[in-house]
Amino acid sequence: MDRIPILRMGDYLLVTIQVDMHDQLALTLQDDLTTAIQRAGAKGVLIDISALEMVDSFIGRMIANISRMGRILDARTVVTGMRPAVAITLVELGLSLSGVDTALDVERGMRRLRKVLDEAGVSSADPED
């Protein structure tokens, strides 16, 4: 697999990382996601990493960077489902991912995205309208 699929759900983009990330995959994701945000005019991005078992400092930084890039493109990003071992590793590596929104699972992440966007006054148009 050389690409991570990016799914569009209305105003949101959903990225689920189901394989162990390697450096090239992360770089491709960064390119694909920024392009997709811009093209779709997405207001929120949800990155689910619940299947990610191993991280190194590079992947950790990529997660933070992708999230910040989304913010610059006016899309709020939430990282969901980080495993305890991954969280401990990132902290030990000195990566606190400050400024990155997190949630326990995809459902809570979605709720959080909606809440944040509501507070920001962005009308999330229902995709079925």
Binding site: V79, T80, G81, M82, R83, P84, V86, A87, I88, L90, V91, E92, S96, L97, T102, A103, L104, D105, R108, G109
Partner: protein, 289 residues
């Protein structure tokens, strides 16, 4: 098997142990009694008698191979001494008392060697042999005693580690960790892992770390706490630290530790009420009292 030729003094000591075991044992036990072993009934006379007889019985064959206590033929003696040391350690004897058990054998052996030796040279030699032998055995006993004491300490530390990290569920979506005792790196690791694991298992969005039972907070402890808080945030939950005593608050500020961005509360009750507020819960009285 060919044994190396035995010196006259070694043969004399061996002879005493093999031929005069009952008498030797009697004197030995008398010596032990004189030195106060068994006076407080932690060990009975019958037990002492049994242990003494066993050691003398094992010493015979071991000694006929030479006086090197670390050699293979001495293994039964070493194992016996280890066993005795371990039981002494669990019975609460001090290292001195344990060593006395072996060292008391010296005088009875001396007296017998003095009586049996025919010339001054043999006398001197035998004295030296006995001293060396009993000293080695005594030192080995003390070493084994120390080792079993250390095993007890390590086991207790492990048990304490397990005892001191219970994660409790306070409410639906709220878990708490009452921390007790000094925080070091190993403990923090265990604490952090069990807390994060329980957050995943219960799907809790709020975790409270209560440090009422942590006696001192220094920069290292604060750093450990901050790491835990960050890891919890990375997983998508929120962390509240509660139970900060006035002295600890002062220390934290004096040390210049930055707890900015960490929610802190004075008591666990305050933290819980904040957790309720965050989850949109309200506590009311059922009726006016």
């Amino acid at each position: 098997m060919m044994l190396p030729p035995m010196s006259q003094s070694d043969a004399l000591v061996l002879d005493i142990i093999q031929q005069d075991a009952p008498g030797l044992l009697g004197d030995w036990l008398a010596e032990l009694k004189a030195r106060g072993t068994g006076a407080d009934h932690r060990i009975t006379e019958a037990e002492l008698h049994e242990q003494g007889a066993e050691l003398l019985r094992l010493l015979g064959p071991a000694l006929s191979s030479g006086t090197d206590v670390n050699a293979e033929p001495w293994r039964p003696v070493r194992e016996f001494l280890e066993r005795v040391s371990r039981s002494r350690a669990t019975q609460g004897f001090s290292s001195t008392e344990t060593a006395t058990f072996v060292f008391s054998l010296k005088r009875p052996l001396f007296t017998r060697a003095q009586a049996r030796a025919t010339d001054a040279a043999t006398k001197g030699e035998a004295t030296w042999t006995i001293t060396e032998l009993v000293d080695r055995l005594g030192l080995y006993t003390v070493g084994a005693f120390q080792k079993s004491r250390e095993e007890v300490i390590v086991r207790q530390q492990e048990e304490m580690l397990e005892l001191s990290t219970p994660v409790v569920k306070l409410w639906e979506g709220v878990v708490a960790l009452p921390m007790i005792g000094t925080l070091d790196s190993a403990r923090t690791q265990v604490v952090m892992e069990s807390l994060l694991q329980s957050i995943v298992e219960t799907g809790s969005e709020i975790a409270i770390i209560d440090i009422t039972g942590v006696p001192t907070v220094d920069t290292l402890v604060a750093q450990h706490l901050l790491k835990t808080v960050t890891a919890i945030r990375l997983m998508g939950a929120e962390c509240i630290i509660s139970g900060i005593r006035p002295q600890i608050a002062q220390t934290i500020v004096h040390l210049g530790i930055d707890l900015e961005g960490v929610t802190t509360k004075a008591t666990l009750a305050d933290a819980l009420s904040l957790a309720f507020k965050r989850s949109g819960l309200v506590v009311t009285r059922a009726k006016a009292v």
